[in-house]
Subunit: 242 residues, 2 copies
């Protein structure tokens, strides 16, 4: 089924229902994907699972879909959060796309002392999230929360979560992986700093947070976007849903 | 030292030597990084380790550097190879940048049945490799080999290497990681297919290659660039130099 067009919609999905699309997806369906009457489209809305639908009407500005049958039940990604400081726009977009593919449940943008970039526009990030979710076959969309100060985020950090952050003097991955494995079933937050790293005070605040686990990602210096992907990969591989 | 400008040069590096730069790096040093006489620049050439140098002459089209002292001995990244099929140009460039940061020793572009993109220009990829190596503090540059057919690459695959490839029906990461750990010290090749995946015949050829190890990267479908990074992360974290 993976070659069948897959679309996120806001509408409720249930057997026998019809959906009228009149947004950007009309162009995408008719021009890019060359949809015709009878073309099968898979739909998901983050709540009702995945459904097969069929185009029953197609006009210049409107497409009508007939919902046919449920293909997969609703699922939700593991409770893994990614908190990241704003980096350059292209790299920020990249982090959001990859975190969606890697199956995080939510994202939080945090402001740090050495952050010298603004968060990307939230509509733009939402578009990236939807495209990545469609592509990667996930059933839910990750949420993405507006920027807050790192210290506020830390001071409200829930006691039942593991906070993973990167630090050159942290534990080597060969040691961290067994530690993570023992915490399988826990909830994880991955914190990634800006390109300039955390300031000394921030580093102390992070390290003192209950549940904090510093991980070293080897002898080379990774850009923020690379570090984000690497840590999410390790968490998913050892105690996520991989 | 990480805030000190770091440059890859082709020249030999030895104490007391001088280097004359007259290429694009002159603009970068003088305009972007605002170098002046006396500015310290770290140099590496992939052979002689990392050296501290100082600007002793700076003109519009030329910068002269005096080499002062050796900062770090030469090192080489672990013997991890990334073989990938050409994907869209931006994602191809991304794979090359990230593989350099993650510390692969060499890259090989492979042509597969479902590849519908051309390899990016090799000069462009070389520029990306150099920038990423400078940034990530590695001492060597990964090599990148011209495209060859997947079946030719496989038929010459060395008997002493582990071939890791992604497959939905492969082994789960929680099982693969201990397997990899036992092979610590081995040489690894990571093979990533195009967006359309391998054809049936290619999949059989890959699976039958001695040393082949199929890994499943979870319930979502990852783009080729994401899969490349994820597998490289796992190899480095478990049996590389992290």
């Amino acid at each position: 089924m993976s070659h069948v067009l897959r679309l996120f919609v806001e509408n409720a999905l249930q057997a026998g229902g019809q959906i009228v699309l009149s947004d950007n997806s009309v162009h995408y369906i008719s021009k890019v994907m060359r949809g015709r009457i009878g073309t099968i489209i898979r739909l998901f809305n983050g709540k009702d699972g995945e459904w097969q639908s069929k185009i029953v009407q197609i006009e210049r500005r409107q497409v009508v879909l007939q919902i046919e049958e449920n293909l997969r039940p609703q699922t939700i990604c593991p409770d893994i959060e990614l908190a990241f400081a704003p980096v350059k726009r292209a790299r920020q977009e990249f982090i959001v796309e990859k975190a969606t593919e890697l199956g995080v449940r939510n994202m939080q943008i945090v402001n740090t002392k050495f952050s010298n970039q603004k968060p990307a526009r939230s509509e733009r990030l939402q578009t990236i999230i939807i495209e990545a979710a469609e592509q990667t076959e996930r059933m839910d969309l990750p949420s993405i929360a507006e920027i807050i100060d790192l210290k506020d985020w830390l001071s409200n950090f829930p006691a039942n979560r593991v906070l993973i952050f990167c630090d050159e003097s942290g534990t080597e991955t060969t040691q961290v992986l067994p530690t993570l494995q023992k915490q399988s079933g826990s909830k994880f937050s991955v914190l990634i700093g800006p390109e300039g790293g955390f300031c000394e005070q921030e580093r102390e605040l992070v390290a003192q947070t209950p549940g904090a686990l510093a991980v070293s990602l080897g002898p080379r210096i990774l850009r923020s976007d690379t570090a984000a992907l690497a840590v999410l990969t390790l968490v998913q591989a050892v105690c996520g849903d991989w």
